[in-house]
């Protein structure tokens, strides 16, 4: 405790004026908004979320202690542990007392005091491992050099997809791309990868409509239904509004009904209950926020996420340590991509994915990991920059002075 207290004082002194505290402020504000939104639809769970908030602050405090080098040295080991945990979930025949089944997936470990989701831990350990791997390399500036990062990504992604939890697995790709861009990978390489991904998505969607037998090999029926539902909605075809598009349709209507100032807590609670919005405290928490606080609430959410991202960018920009740079960029990437996908689903721009809203949605594992990232960001921001021979991730061609 003394060590922690001294460390906290050190951090306060050294990070004064630095952007890290804005990230914490944004995170706490988001968490508070999330608790209020959860209280609107599930008051019992709001109390639990407060408990998780306290636990998250404790975990965040613990993440203030280790040095970046120590964190980096342990990154691979942490990733291996995470992969083992993910693999453990997939062992057939495990009793539901150890690996409970919920929402059609085996994504949790029952630790008696809580249900822990290893895929959340995987986000953190993957970022740390990737940051440690990329910190002194240049190979990712070539096509061949991208193979290993992609392969590293596929390890946790492959295990998470098998749970199955496609939504969580989707977060890793944008996070990796963000880290590669920050690390200096060639933008056109990244563009090609994104293009390939987009084309693959289009091909999958076309297969759903024109080659369903082939699509069945790639996507499960409920996953295909989500694409079908979203495309029908975009086309203005409301035939799936009561079935496969029910959740998204209700979400969009409730968001719209919030208008500018929202409908207030009581009315929002009634309407969400009567309309039967699924996963109101998890995946659709953004809907609850906009229904209650209106467009003002939505803009506040956008602003707070941007605040976190900008804050982390400042920390990354000021730091000279390549591991710190990439790790913090990775944290920002995962927070922002997860938030964007969740909000895009709620407002009907993407098919339903089952991703929660960082800091806001109900869930202990997610909150703890997110605050751990905040803790590490503050930790890394507080340290004196190391002496490095050359700045990291600078690949500009040298400029010739004179003739």
């Amino acid at each position: 405790m003394n060590t922690l207290a001294n460390r906290c004082m050190d951090i306060l002194r050294s990070t004064k004026g630095r952007g890290a505290w804005y990230a914490l402020g944004g995170a706490i504000a988001l968490t508070w908004i999330g608790i209020e939104a959860i209280r609107t639809v599930a008051p019992d769970h709001a109390s639990k979320q407060i408990v998780w908030f306290v636990v998250s602050l404790v975990v965040m405090a613990m993440c203030l202690l280790p040095r970046p080098r120590v964190v980096g040295l342990g990154a691979y080991a942490l990733l291996v542990v995470t992969l083992l945990l993910l693999g453990f979930l997939l062992i057939p025949g495990l009793p539901s007392a150890v690996v409970p089944r919920g929402r059609g997936t085996t994504a949790w470990l029952d630790l008696q005091i809580m249900h822990f989701q290893p895929s959340e831990l995987a986000k953190l350990t993957f970022i740390l491992a990737m940051a440690w791997y990329l910190r002194f390399r240049r190979t990712y500036r070539q096509w061949r050099g991208l193979l290993i990062p992609l392969g590293l990504m596929l390890l946790p992604v492959g295990l998470i997809v098998r749970q199955p939890d496609l939504g969580t697995a989707m977060i890793f790709a944008p996070t990796l791309l963000v880290m590669l861009i920050a690390a200096g990978a060639r933008l056109w390489h990244i563009g090609v990868l994104v293009g390939v991904g987009a084309i693959a998505t289009v091909v999958i969607v076309l297969m759903i409509y024109f080659a369903p037998n082939v699509a069945d090999q790639i996507l499960r029926p409920h996953q295909q239904d989500r694409f079908r539902g979203m495309i029908s909605q975009i086309q203005g075809d409301g035939r799936y509004d009561s079935s496969i598009s029910f959740q998204q349709n209700k979400s969009m209507q409730l968001i719209g009904a919030g208008q500018f100032f929202g409908m207030g807590a009581e009315k929002t609670a009634k309407l969400i209950r009567w309309h039967g919005l699924p996963e109101a405290r998890n995946d659709m928490i953004f809907t609850v926020i906009v229904a209650r606080w209106g467009l003002i609430g939505a803009f506040l959410i956008f602003t707070l996420y941007l605040l976190i991202i900008v804050s982390m960018s400042f920390v990354a920009g000021r730091s000279k340590d390549p591991f710190v740079r990439l790790a913090v960029v990775g944290f920002g990437g995962v927070v922002f991509s997860q938030a964007s996908i969740n909000i895009a689903v709620a407002i009907g721009l993407l098919p339903v994915t089952g991703i929660t809203l960082p800091f806001v949605s109900y869930g202990g594992s997610s909150l703890v990991i997110m605050f751990a990232m905040i803790g590490l960001t503050i930790n890394f921001a507080s340290l004196r920059p190391p002496i490095v021979s050359r700045p990291s991730f600078e690949f500009d061609p040298p400029t010739t002075v004179g003739a």
């Binding site: 719209g256 208008q259 500018f260 309407l271 956008f302 941007l306 920009g317």
Partner: protein
């Protein structure tokens, strides 16, 4: 731009961070735009839609107006009752499948995804057994409690399933057309196969009109199923898919009446010196009409309960129709539907405030008819072809049918026809009977036999207003009056019947009926009244030639021949008037043949004009709403009218009159035997086109065959009370393919006159 950025951010890493920030901002702006679009542009619409769920609207049925006769006797009334409805998923079997599936997944949730399709199928079949038993028990219980005939229940269930499947097919086909129009290519049925219509998720009435006690018993069963405190409250219970609804029944108190008939006034072969009490069913069925509990699509589209405005907002019309609303099917129930229907009320329950607002229904207006139900029942008894009590609507030997026609009605065969009684002064219809009005019990339950009988006899058609007939000789008094008015004939002028045919070059064409019946004899020279009395064709051929087609057509038009009377029944048809015919048809037109037709009500109305001295007065069968026809005046020569009526009087009273004597095999007797009234009658024996129907033989090959042929028998009678100046009532009777008008229609009119006396009209 690149140089500026590089100058501002010399570090590549910083520039990459800036790039990532720009992407992040761009994505945030996109999300913000969409959110703003939802909340600001569409916020109002979504708010309205979303808030609708807090309000539950229950419709309160309206009270349909009653129908009375002219003496305020109740003919139709509304009665509240209860219906038993069952969810369509239970009817179609989907409930069993869904419950079995849920149960199977719940019990095997860990292994369900690993099962093969066959394993799942076997499991589902096993789990369906208890739910099928529940459904079977439900039907058994409903049969026991409500005492409904199981066959009737099965038939009703099958009917509902058929109707909903038809509706689904129709909807899916429309959806495919829409998609094909959008995509420009073919769309497979599988694309819309999963779509359902509202009726598939609704409750449907399987048992109608249960009483309060049954309702309470069923309510108990349903209440137990919904009881959250019951031990098995979370288990599927088919009774949760049963509802009791308030409904409306329509009762027709006077549809069965007992009447007393004096048979001593019948023609000798039929008369008996007794009175019988006679039971008449479905009295005034064609006039009053009946209800139907299925609103057709075009009726729903004409008066929809729910529609959308141009702005897409929902609009509700409380007088509009829902799928299973009761609606008038025919008769006054249909023609006065908007008047009788009323407006339903509604109850708005506000879920969040636990309050309710009730808007009371508005009862429909009552309708009063001009019909006298007692007289109607008596005339129906007279016109009943199935009951042998009177036997006037059975073919008899003395009806003088054309025996060379093979499909002429055989002796004893039931005949079809119609009768109308009208008050001359007011134009009110006192009785209007179309016969037959129901399928006779003698046909039995064979559907093919019933269909064949209906094809031949058209019991659902209102022959008073909805069947066109050639007038035959019944137009002669009108033509005579017209001839005198136009100066085509002097009052005392006689025209010859000799040689018995009009055109010497065509001795078999345009002949007098007397010439044909007597094998070449002719009437003497006849004046107008005498020609009406004897119904001499030659007289009227010549008069018709004098008048010409144009004038004849004009006069028929003025007598409203071919025109709707707008008496108040929607089944009324307009018939082929006398316009656009060629010049050489004048002689035929003058004797009521050729390209002219009228309905029974038009005939009665035309004679009423004559009886009123040329005053045109609308015809009414209901007291509400006056006819769109305004009153008018035909400038008929009064002396001409008198002479036409004189001819009709002679026809009914003189031994040479065609409506005076019944020519029985062994004796002659007067047709009219009612004392103390003045009778003016005109018979008509109109050549009728044969009745063709399609018949399928045992091989299924369709063929057209004649089933009836011959002449329609008419009698139109004016009757005057001794003290009156002008005739008081007009009675018109037609018997299809009956033969000679006077012989077949005369005794019927005579009985109607006796009926009117018993009702104190004469």
């Amino acid at each position: 731009m690149q140089r500026i950025v590089r100058r501002l951010f010399p570090s590549m890493f910083s520039r990459r961070l800036l790039f990532l920030m720009v992407i992040a901002c761009g994505m945030t702006v996109t999300l913000a735009i969409q959110t703003t679009h939802l909340t600001i542009s569409q916020g109002g619409l979504f708010r309205h839609r979303i808030e609708q769920i807090l309000v539950r609207h229950h419709l309160i049925p309206t009270l349909r107006g009653a129908i009375y006769d002219r003496n305020d006797r109740l003919l139709a009334k509304h009665r509240s009752s209860y219906n038993v409805s069952v969810g369509f998923d239970v009817l179609s079997g989907r409930w069993v499948e869904q419950c079995a599936r849920r149960q199977a997944i719940k019990e095997n949730k860990d292994q369900w995804r690993q099962f093969t399709a066959r394993q799942r199928l076997l499991l589902l079949e096993k789990h369906q057994v208890p739910f099928r038993q529940q459904v079977s028990d439900l039907w058994q219980m409903l049969i026991e409690i409500t005492a409904i005939d199981p066959v009737e229940l099965e038939s009703r269930k099958a009917q509902i399933i058929r109707a909903v499947h038809r509706g689904t097919d129709s909807y899916q086909r429309r959806q495919i057309k829409k998609l094909e129009a959008k995509s420009g290519g073919q769309v497979p049925l599988a694309e819309v196969a999963g779509e359902s219509i509202a009726e598939q998720n609704q409750f449907h009435v399987v048992i109608e009109d249960v009483d309060r006690n049954i309702r309470f018993s069923l309510d108990r069963m349903i209440g137990n199923a919904h009881n959250p405190n019951a031990m098995d409250s979370s288990e599927p219970n088919v009774w949760k898919r049963v509802q009791i609804g308030i409904s409306a029944r329509r009762d027709y108190p006077c549809q069965e009446m007992q009447i007393t008939v004096d048979r001593s006034t019948l023609p000798s072969p039929l008369s008996h010196h007794d009175t019988v009490v006679y039971s008449v069913n479905h009295v005034a069925r064609h006039v009053v009409g009946r209800m139907r509990h299925r609103v057709w699509e075009q009726e729903r589209q004409a008066y929809p309960y729910h529609s959308r405005s141009t702005g897409g907002k929902s609009q509700y019309n409380l007088q509009g129709y829902l799928f299973e609303d009761p609606i008038g099917a025919w008769g006054i129930e249909r023609s006065m539907e908007r008047h009788l229907r009323g407006r339903r009320g509604w109850r708005s329950s506000y879920r969040d405030e636990h309050t309710a607002v009730i808007h009371e229904p508005v009862a429909g207006d009552d309708v009063k008819l001009t019909i006298d139900i007692q007289l109607q029942a008596l005339v129906a008894a007279i016109m009943d072809p199935e009951d042998a009590t009177l036997g006037l609507m059975r073919s008899r030997g003395w009806h003088k049918k054309p025996i060379h026609r093979k499909q002429s009605p055989k002796d004893g065969e039931a005949l079809c026809g119609a009768a109308i009684v009208m008050d001359v002064a007011s134009g009110e219809v006192l009785a209007a009977v179309s016969s037959p009005w129901q399928v006779p019990e003698s046909i039995g339950g064979d559907r093919q036999a019933i269909a064949r009988w209906e094809q031949v006899n058209s019991p659902w058609r209102n022959r008073v207003v909805g069947m066109p007939y050639p007038p035959g000789s019944t137009v002669k008094p009108l033509v005579l009056a017209a001839g005198y008015t136009d100066g085509k004939l002097e009052y005392n002028q006689a025209l010859p019947c000799v040689p018995g045919y009009l055109d010497p070059s065509q001795p078999h064409h345009l002949r007098c009926w007397y010439y044909v019946a007597t094998n070449g004899k002719s009437h003497p020279n006849l004046t107008g009244p005498e020609a009406v009395m004897r119904s001499c064709n030659m007289f009227f051929y010549r008069l018709g030639q004098r008048l010409g087609t144009g004038a004849l057509g004009d006069w028929y038009d003025r007598f409203r021949l071919g025109h709707l009377t707008r008496c108040g029944l929607s089944e009324e048809i307009a018939t082929h008037g006398a316009s656009g015919v060629s010049a050489d048809t004048a002689p035929q037109m003058a004797i009521g043949q050729g390209p002219i037709e009228w309905t029974l009500v038009q005939a009665a109305a035309a004679y009423a004009i004559l009886a009123r001295g040329g005053v045109v007065h609308p015809t009414f069968i209901k007291t509400q709403g006056r006819s769109e026809l305004s009153s008018g005046y035909l400038k008929l020569d009064p002396r001409g009218i008198d002479l036409a009526l004189e001819g009709m009087r002679l026809s009914a009273t003189d031994r040479n009159g065609t409506t005076s004597v019944l020519r029985l095999p062994e004796l002659r007797e007067p047709i009219f035997n009612i004392p103390d009234v003045d009778i003016y009658a005109k018979s008509g024996t109109a050549q009728a086109p044969p009745l063709w129907i399609n018949i399928k033989d045992q091989q299924g090959i369709e063929d057209k065959r004649i089933v009836r042929e011959g002449n329609h028998g008419w009698v139109i009678c004016l009757v005057k009370r001794p003290q009156s100046i002008q005739p008081n009532f007009v009675i018109a009777v037609i018997v299809e393919y009956g033969g000679s008008g006077g012989q077949v229609g005369g005794p019927i009119v005579n009985q109607i006159l006796h009926a009117m006396r018993s009702c104190e009209y004469l």
